[in-house]
């Protein structure tokens, strides 16, 4: 349970997933935010209107997935580092997962690293496709990883 272990449940993850059809269309932001806390910069950062306005700053983010172009600006705007971008259209067998990264060393593009799940366990090798510094220029990076498609909703870190 998230409040006991820090790991969201399968049910919680399912609740923030877009439809299969939307996932198949390409990159889309996945907001893994499950607790009502006073925070709304994801909405302010989003340029495509995909993260809907907050009625109350404590609300959970609501998404209009059809408006999301997977740009990833929200990834480094989220103070909780809880937003990821998943692109299941990447290839037949693989998906692209974009994660926020605030550690050194920053991996090299092309490197093969250990893809970690939400419990920090290595679940598959992941290839670093792209590394870019965050649009906010705040010292963070966004790392794009190529992972087996069935692990697109498992890999959330590297080690």
């Amino acid at each position: 349970m998230l409040s006991r272990s820090g790991v969201p449940t399968k049910k919680q993850i399912e609740s923030v997933k877009p439809s299969k059809e939307r996932l198949a269309k390409g990159a889309v932001a996945i907001v893994e935010c499950f607790q009502e806390i006073p925070c709304d910069p994801c909405h302010t950062a989003c340029n495509s209107g995909c993260i809907l306005p907050f009625a109350d700053i404590n609300d959970l983010p609501q998404m209009d997935f059809d408006k999301c172009n997977g740009c990833g600006v929200c990834i480094s705007a989220c103070p909780g580092l809880a937003i990821f971008v998943v692109d299941e259209s990447y290839s037949e067998e693989e998906a692209l997962v974009m994660i926020p990264w605030e550690f050194t060393p920053v991996p090299e593009e092309g490197a093969v690293v250990r893809g970690l799940n939400r419990e920090g366990e290595a679940v598959a090798p992941a290839t670093v496709k792209k590394v870019r510094s965050s649009p906010q220029k705040n010292g963070a990076y966004i790392i794009s990883l190529v992972v087996p498609k069935e692990l697109a909703f498992e890999v959330r870190s590297i080690g």
Partner: protein, 364 residues
């Protein structure tokens, strides 16, 4: 005798905002900070802040401190006293300011206490071994002085501070083999907990430190699962080799000077301990003395900033500054504060504030 119209003690998020707000309205402000730099705990915060744009959300804490430091120092209405300690409160209301070896007695028309908080600690056998730190000390070592406290750190406390400092330790290349939390639930924002969890740090809720071991410095701890009455469950003990144990077991308002000034105080556990009674504009029971930030209730920096803003505008208005805009600005700021506390995360503060009488509602 030094004279300011508004004297602000403490330059954390509450004090910085109070000084800026009062000075923007035309008051002559003095801002006193005992540390060498303005910013209070903001200086040590490398994570991005929550809240909204108005509270500098998604900015890193130390960046917020840098920006506000510049704003305060560029302000013609604010005189800044760094490396200066407000030693106490004399009977006639004068506040002695100690800078170097000199005392500068300060008089004022309004006083804003933004003194912040102190860390709670924990008692267990050998809790005085070298290597056992408060989380504030670990943050100061790492994020102000660039020194890591050790190689393997066990963290006690899964509130925001414990989890954030664990993450900062990982960023500094230090191993964190366990976060130990006595409560059954993680107190930190869950997103912070998930950040350290996916880096492989286990969080042991309903666990506590039983004992520390080491000949000259910390070498090992034993921790165990506890029942609802906080008693260790026999057989659940685990040993952990660590050279540092970091305690992040909560904060208590830093209120000595408020007691000394004769402000009516109340003990409200939800707010962190003894806190001053105050009006809707954060004026204490002593007219002209205001409180803002953690000194009045342990809360997030975003709330402290809004409280500072309110205390600053109210103090200035009491001296006749910015009267025309005051009612409107006050209503807006109060609404902003209510919004921040509106969700489940603000429930504990709301509960505490309901218990806290307004000045004048109690005798003595």
């Amino acid at each position: 005798m030094y004279r300011a119209e508004v004297l602000v003690i403490g330059s954390g998020p509450a004090g910085l905002m109070a000084a800026l707000q009062a000075a923007d309205r035309g008051a002559k402000v003095a801002l006193v900070e005992r540390d060498a730099h303005l910013g209070g705990q903001l200086l040590k915060q490398t994570h991005m802040f929550f809240g909204s744009k108005e509270h500098y959300a998604a900015e890193r804490g130390f960046k917020i401190a840098e920006n506000l430091d510049a704003a305060v120092k560029d302000h013609p209405g604010i005189e800044v006293f760094e490396d200066t300690t407000a030693l106490g409160y004399y009977e006639d209301g004068v506040v002695p300011l100690e800078r170097g070896k000199k005392i500068l007695p300060a008089a004022y028309d309004a006083l804003i206490m933004a003194t912040g908080a102190q860390e709670n600690t924990l008692l267990f056998p050998n809790c005085d071994l070298p290597g056992i730190y408060g989380a504030g000390a670990v943050q100061t070592l790492m994020n102000v002085h660039g020194v890591v406290p050790g190689n393997r750190v066990a963290m006690v406390g899964a509130g925001n501070i414990g989890v954030i400092v664990s993450y900062q330790l990982l960023q500094a290349g230090v191993a964190v083999p366990a976060i130990i939390e006595a409560m059954p639930d993680i107190g930190a924002y869950h997103v912070h907990a998930s950040k350290v969890r996916r880096m492989g740090v286990p969080i042991y809720t309903s666990h506590t430190v039983v004992s520390a071991f080491g000949s000259e410095q910390l070498e090992k701890i034993v921790f165990a699962e506890i029942d609802e009455k906080m008693n260790p469950l026999p057989g659940s003990e685990q040993e952990l080799d660590v050279d540092v144990l970091c305690l992040a077991v909560g904060l208590a308002p830093l209120t000595e000077i408020l007691f000394q000034a004769g402000c009516q105080m109340a003990y409200v556990p939800e707010l962190g301990g003894h806190v001053p009674l105050r009006s809707d504009t954060f004026e204490t029971s002593v007219p002209g003395i205001f409180v803002a930030g953690d000194a009045g209730a342990i809360e997030e920096a975003s709330a402290a900033m809004v409280e500072g803003k309110i205390a600053g505008m109210a103090a200035a208005a009491g001296l006749g500054y910015g009267k025309e805009q005051y009612e409107k600005d006050l209503a807006n700021a109060r609404e902003e504060l209510a919004k921040l506390r509106n969700g489940p995360a603000g429930a504990i503060t709301r509960r505490g504030l309901e218990k806290l009488p307004h000045p004048g509602e109690v005798s003595g």
